[in-house]
């Protein structure tokens, strides 16, 4: 279908226009090539990659060794080795000083006869397995004292291997951005070549491309202005305008030629260029040009971070250390997911009953696995013990008869977090659904003040989760100063003040209650909207047929509500699986959900790589739910 008239009346370009066209097409081709060049330049000059390729002076140890010939007037004329710790490297941290004389490495004496290469080989030990965790080398040095004496000191220096170039590259650049730069660069270059053949579609695409390039450069200029002027992450320094302007000048100036080119091109696009364009292809261009900002933003805040998280989860990256990043394969996941289930007995009282703690929880004996682990740990050397992660208790479920199933994991805290999250999700979503359905049925009746009621139901939802957590913390204070304790004691429901949020108390129920309070009315509103789409005459017909109200509910209301309930359920499930605010504010780090565990690992432990693996686990879990959602709700296929 061609709604647009084919471009007719095309005239021959004047000589001046021919030159302009050459210039514009040249500009596009240069931009395309510049994209490649910039990418190449960024990769080549990247510090991480350069270090990974060349290796630091001595990889990982952080010392340079220097052979020193004593001064001519010194009493002892034998040459010796001096070391230079790389600032803030592991050697410097271990307390080595620049004029320390090296005498032994791991009990191998360093003699002046050895060549510098031999000493460095000793330090680097190229045969060492790259996948081994950090290990320590003992460097023994003579340290000159103030009165000319030399005292012997031994320093342990953590040694590790340099990152492989691939890991360094992936961590800095990844796949998405380079791929995008290459594809877009080629496309722009191709547009430039098509322009010279007077292709009208290429010309129109060029106009769009030039416009978004200008916008992009504008943002780059603003960013450069701000970052360079501010000079540091958190500083009190005044804004440095000269620095800011000089950094923003280049991208800002680049806008000018693009602007001129775009203006000229759009003024002649209907006169100089040839070709037919269908409505669909025109629509496609228009649509994609409108989608570009959204896609760019999603690229920046979703695709790239997701890719980064996946890549980092395969490394042992940590913040704030000088240690190079290493590829460790699936080790993070192995540690997260490695678990065993074993049978344990409860600790018996003298009368044969199971011993319980003051709050009524059963005391369990140590399991065979834990005993075996403890025995194995005693056999290990100190170095082995440091790198070995034991199986620890992640929780025990009583199966009756004084026996229980104990889950043990290499990372018991994560398994605990996983269990907490799952438990929280199942209980809270189920309660919210039931309560929400009940509230919706009540509010769906015709009564005076229904509008007010609906407003009231929005209140818990409108209160920020953090605020509701703070509020409920005040309500659930553990002693008689808590209103919940007072209320329940006034009503005679409890005799003693309850510690609602303590580890020995009903903390999971409390957390669920907070979440249910916040979301059940909201769920009710969603269900209410579904209820109101059910036509009233169905009920009238059922009344005429003599169906009871209960029967009507199960045969009419519920089946017709199913789509609404399904969608609401899935959304709530996804929300509950990534619960963060309530757990973080009310329970701190002691009883984490998966999300707070991820946060703790990332921000408090600075274990970037490990936290990434946790994040990927959450992502996979939720992804499975999303697929289930799309399957169940049978998303309409349209267009």
């Amino acid at each position: 279908m061609t709604l647009l008239a084919p471009v007719s009346g095309r005239r021959r370009p004047s000589e001046q226009e021919a030159i302009s066209l050459e210039l514009v097409s040249g500009l596009l081709m240069i931009i395309g090539l510049a994209a490649f060049a910039l990418l190449f330049y960024a990769i080549v000059t990247n510090d991480n990659i350069r270090i990974a390729v060349q290796g630091p002076p001595i990889p990982g140890v952080g010392v340079n060794v220097r052979r020193v010939q004593p001064a001519a007037d010194a009493a002892d004329q034998t040459p010796y080795y001096e070391i230079e710790p790389v600032p803030s490297g592991p050697a410097a941290v271990a307390g080595l000083l620049p004029d320390d004389r090296l005498i032994r490495i791991d009990d191998t004496a360093i003699t002046p006869e050895m060549s510098l290469q031999q000493v460095q080989d000793l330090l680097t030990e190229p045969g060492m397995d790259l996948y081994q965790d950090d290990f320590v080398i003992q460097i023994t040095v003579l340290r000159p004292g103030p009165n000319g004496t030399l005292s012997e000191q031994t320093r342990a220096v953590a040694k590790n291997v340099a990152p492989t170039p691939l890991v360094a590259y992936l961590k800095t650049f990844g796949f998405v951005v380079p791929l995008l730069v290459i594809v877009l660069g080629s496309l722009i270059f191709w547009l430039g070549t098509r322009l010279r053949r007077f292709d009208v579609r290429a010309a129109r695409w060029s106009v769009v491309t030039l416009m978004w390039l200008m916008v992009g450069l504008g943002f780059a200029a603003v960013w450069a202005f701000w970052v360079n002027g501010k000079g540091g992450i958190v500083t009190d320094a005044p804004f440095d305008f000269s620095k800011a302007i000089s950094a923003a000048l280049a991208p800002a100036l680049l806008i000018i030629p693009l602007f001129i080119a775009r203006r000229w091109l759009s003024s002649v696009v209907d006169e100089l260029f040839v070709g037919d364009e269908t409505l669909t292809s025109r629509n496609t261009r228009f649509a994609w040009s409108l989608l570009i900002p959204t896609l760019a933003v999603l690229m920046l805040v979703a695709a790239r971070p997701l890719e980064q998280t996946f890549i980092k989860s395969l490394t042992d990256d940590e913040f704030g250390t000088a240690r190079p990043v290493r590829f460790i394969g699936l080790d993070n996941y192995r540690r997260l997911l490695d678990f065993q289930i074993t049978l344990v007995e409860c600790r018996r009282e003298d009368n044969g009953a199971c011993a319980t703690t003051a709050s009524g929880q059963i005391v369990w004996e140590r399991s065979d696995v834990e005993a075996a682990e403890a025995a194995a740990a005693r056999e290990m050397s100190a170095a082995e013990r440091r790198t070995y992660t034991r199986y620890t208790d992640a929780g025990t479920i009583s199966i009756g008869g004084g026996r229980g199933l104990r889950v043990l994991g290499r990372d018991a805290a994560f398994l605990g977090a996983f269990g907490n999250t799952l438990q929280f999700t199942i209980i809270s979503v189920a309660l919210e659904l039931l309560l929400g359905l009940a509230i919706a049925l009540v509010v769906n009746m015709n009564f005076r003040g229904r509008g007010l009621m609906r407003t009231a139901m929005l209140v818990p939802w409108a209160i920020p989760t953090v605020v509701s957590a703070v509020l409920w913390q005040a309500i659930m204070r553990p002693d008689q100063t808590g209103i919940l304790n007072k209320l329940f004691m006034d009503l005679g429901l409890i005799q003693q003040p309850q510690q609602w949020l303590a580890a020995s108390g009903p903390w999971m129920a409390s957390i669920v209650a907070v979440d249910v309070w916040k979301t059940a009315p909201f769920m009710a509103l969603l269900i209410l909207a579904g209820l109101q789409t059910i036509p009233a005459d169905i009920y009238e017909a059922a009344d005429v047929d003599g169906a009871s109200k209960l029967r009507q509910f199960f045969t009419i209301t519920l089946p017709l509500l199913r789509p609404t309930i399904t969608v609401a359920l899935i959304f709530r499930t996804l929300d509950a699986l990534r619960v963060f605010d309530v757990f973080q504010v009310m329970l701190d780090t002691t009883r984490p959900s998966m999300a707070t565990y991820n946060y703790n690992q990332l921000v408090l432990n600075r274990a970037d790589g490990y936290a990434s693996a946790v994040g990927v686990m959450i992502f996979i879990l939720i992804f499975i739910f999303v697929i289930a959602y799309v399957r169940i709700s049978g998303l309409r296929q349209e267009g």
Partner: protein, 291 residues
């Protein structure tokens, strides 16, 4: 009318059952109202007591209307700055989501083009994206762009939850508009962008208000990113972070003043929600039920 006429005809036993049912019904209504409103009412009650009073005993109603907590908070420049940060971050986030999102929604709701279903699926998947799972990746981006510890980090990262939702809801609104509009505009010689800006955008103003409000609420309430990216810089924190890490003005554990702060945080939202409740319910159900 009908019921009034019929009541004298039914036997007394049935009439009693009817009263009982009505009584139970109103009991249920009152229970729901109390359940949803009481906790926040208690928050207001506790915020009028001093911290020392709160730490001694629990009371349903305050001894007196003591506004010391509010005075302290409103005079505290740090707290006021976090309020300002929240307002700034949320407003810019909304503006960004609406401008960028309406472009994309128009393209997807009104234009037939190749790859439309693919983009639609991506946006739908994004509305369910777990933000927590890319926290460490975003942390890297934010430090790479050197905006860590500034409100800009939040403005930059909030589109991850506001934008897909905005696009999704606006797309369905655009789809609901009659197709003749563009055809008329096209006949009159308007360019597609003119059609969008001058004709369709004003028509969707109600939808823009709704989605803008929802985006504002989610940005105002956001805690995870705010905590992670502004933990190092007190002057960049938003109000949820400030409330969660509130240390009080005295030496005791902050309870009453913390709750007072929480009330201050919640009030702007409650006002917004109460004014626009109809729109919000519409927007939410459009987002969830039409999915």
């Amino acid at each position: 009318m009908m019921t009034q006429r019929r009541i004298p005809q039914v036997p007394a036993r049935v009439r009693a059952a009817g009263y009982l049912r009505r009584g139970l019904f109103w009991l249920a209504v009152i229970a729901v109202a109390l359940y949803t409103l009481l906790p926040f009412a208690y928050a207001i009650s506790i915020s009028f007591r001093t911290n020392a009073q709160v730490l001694v005993s629990a009371r349903y109603l305050p001894e007196e209307l003591n506004i010391i907590n509010y005075q302290n908070l409103l005079r505290d420049p740090n707290f006021m700055r976090t309020l300002g940060n929240s307002a700034l971050v949320s407003s810019i986030t909304v503006l960004l989501a609406l401008v960028v999102g309406s472009f994309a929604a128009y393209a997807m709701g009104r234009v037939q083009f190749r790859g439309r279903m693919g983009v639609l699926y991506v946006v739908l998947a994004m509305t369910m994206f777990p933000q927590i799972s890319i926290l460490s990746g975003l942390f890297g981006i934010v430090t790479d762009l050197q905006v860590y510890g500034s409100p800009i980090a939040l403005i930059l990262t909030y589109p991850i939850f506001t934008l897909p939702f905005t696009v999704w809801v606006l797309t369905s609104f655009f789809q609901g508009l009659p197709a003749e509009i563009e055809q008329a505009a096209l006949v009159d010689g308007a360019t597609p962008f003119q059609t969008f800006r001058l004709i369709l955008l004003p028509l969707t103003a109600p939808a823009l208000v709704t989605t803008g409000l929802l985006a504002f609420i989610s940005a105002w309430n956001e805690y995870l990113f705010a905590l992670t990216f502004t933990l190092v810089n007190r002057s960049a924190q938003t109000v949820p972070v400030a409330i969660a890490n509130f240390s009080g003005y005295g030496y005791e554990i902050p309870v009453a003043d913390r709750v007072a702060g929480a009330v201050i945080v919640a009030v702007p939202l409650l006002v917004l929600v109460l004014i626009f409740q109809r729109r919000i319910i519409e927007g939410l159900t459009a987002g969830a039920v039409k999915g």
